[in-house]
Amino acid sequence: MFDKYLIDPDSVTDIGPADSPTGFSFTTKLGYYRGLTLSMLEEMTVAVDGEELPREAVSFDDGNGPITLDEMETTYDRRWNFGAPATLSVTYPGGFPKGEHTLSLRQRLRISYMPFPAMRFTEKTIVKE
């Protein structure tokens, strides 16, 4: 329902030393019309040019401290609120590649009233000089 807004394309920033970045980060929102307890976020799969990065490479922070996707699985006392921007940090040696590349994100949400997981997806073209 909010797929097209999942990635803020202007937020993509390298992390780590400026001369040898260890990865990049970007701002994302939860693709749902309400907030969710973190345990119900089953997947946030980041891909560069269609190539998916390992789950372990991704870390989430909605302002309450970084947490890995595995840790989120059993986090029952923390919610990602509706419309609230959060930062996904990704280990990606060298940082986001220069030039024109695609960045995509797939969120898999466990919604109790639906029989199957809800899938959200967006792909944005990022131009880095």
């Binding site: 309400r34 907030g35 919610r79 609120n81």
Partner: protein, 335 residues
């Protein structure tokens, strides 16, 4: 005689602008007040960032804000995260506890109607009735398409309510069950995604004739070799039955609030899809008392080509309500 039907909005209606940070909750309330829709339906899990640990001060802040605009709460939309954990479902006790938590917060907020998701089991709700009675909150199971008023799953809730003789368990119809015509916004979106006009016209015609949806899906998918957009459009028919508005009178004693679902209004303030012109007369005939609460859900169908204007859509729906309710300029405003 003035009707006892009041107008309101669900904050769900402004999800696009709120998600994008273009409106905050007070903007929504202020707008609702401006069109005489003084009843506010809230989704705490959407609109209250501290949920479920909402403080008394926060609740007081909400009430002050509502009062500033002459508004009041009508309904609390609950959720039940039975799949909170990935290793097991919530136990029955945990489910009851979660609903009790919502009933208590609903009561603290001074709200007397709670929307219950349709998948909540009637036997779980039966266990919650004592709490609902104590807290004076009506639990209304949302009758959402493709269910309908007479669906046997809904009849189980009615059976529990009758057996217990309680006034605190019933239903809460979502007007999506009265989708009589195929919504133009959906058709247009599928066409933008590649559905051919002759196929979308076929689907619309089949729906208009109320042909069993599985037949249409088969025709489109197999016989016409429809492309993915066409098949997806045909499959939307599974979620869009048309319930008989004449049943409203039979069920009116079981509901006190209505989610007035819509996907888009025409410029002359008509709903091309839902049979409000048949439903509202039935509500009036039944002498029903409660709130018609706008639930605009069209944003997701048009956001690919235009900026969503939820306010304008809701405004048009309320123009329609005023017309169908026979409201005069000074009539309903002070009710």
């Amino acid at each position: 005689m003035a009707s006892k039907i009041r107008r309101g909005v669900s904050l769900y209606s402004f999800q696009e602008e709120m998600f994008l940070g273009k409106m905050n909750v007070e903007d929504c309330v202020s707008f609702a007040a401006s069109i005489g829709a003084k009843g506010i339906e809230i989704l705490p899990e959407q609109n209250m960032p501290s949920f479920p640990n909402v403080t008394d001060a926060e609740i007081a802040g909400w009430h002050e804000m509502l009062e500033r605009h002459g508004c009041h709460f009508t309904c609390y939309d609950m959720f039940l995260d039975t799949k909170l954990r990935n290793d097991r479902l919530l136990t029955d006790d945990e489910q009851v506890e979660s609903i009790r938590r919502d009933l208590a917060l609903c009561n603290r907020m001074g709200i007397r109607n709670m929307r219950v998701l349709i998948f909540v089991r009637p036997d779980i709700l039966e266990r919650c009735v004592p709490y609902a009675e104590e807290l004076d909150v009506h639990m209304g199971v949302e009758v959402h398409a493709p269910w309908y008023l007479d669906h046997p799953w809904i009849l189980r809730t009615i059976e529990v309510a009758d057996r217990l003789g309680t006034k605190h368990l019933g239903i809460l119809p979502d007007m999506g069950i009265f989708m009589k015509h195929y919504p133009p916004e959906l058709r247009a979106r599928f066409e933008r995604e590649g559905a051919r006009p002759e196929i979308t016209q076929f689907i619309v015609d089949q729906h208009e004739q109320k042909v069993m949806c599985e037949y249409t899906i088969y025709e489109v998918a197999v016989k016409m070799k429809g492309n993915p957009s066409e098949v997806r459009m045909a499959e939307t028919l599974r979620h869009a039955p048309y319930a008989n508005p004449k049943r409203i009178g039979d069920f009116a004693p079981y509901f006190r609030h209505i989610q007035a679902k819509f996907y888009g209004m025409t410029e002359d303030c008509r709903d091309p899809a839902h049979a409000y012109d048949e439903v509202i007369p039935e509500l009036l005939k039944a002498g029903w008392e409660g709130t018609l609460s706008s639930e605009y859900e069209g944003n997701r169908w048009v956001q690919d080509v235009m900026d969503v204007d939820s306010r304008e859509q809701v405004r048009r729906q309320h123009e329609m309500f005023k017309r169908l309710l026979g409201e005069t300029a000074n009539g309903q405003e002070d009710a």
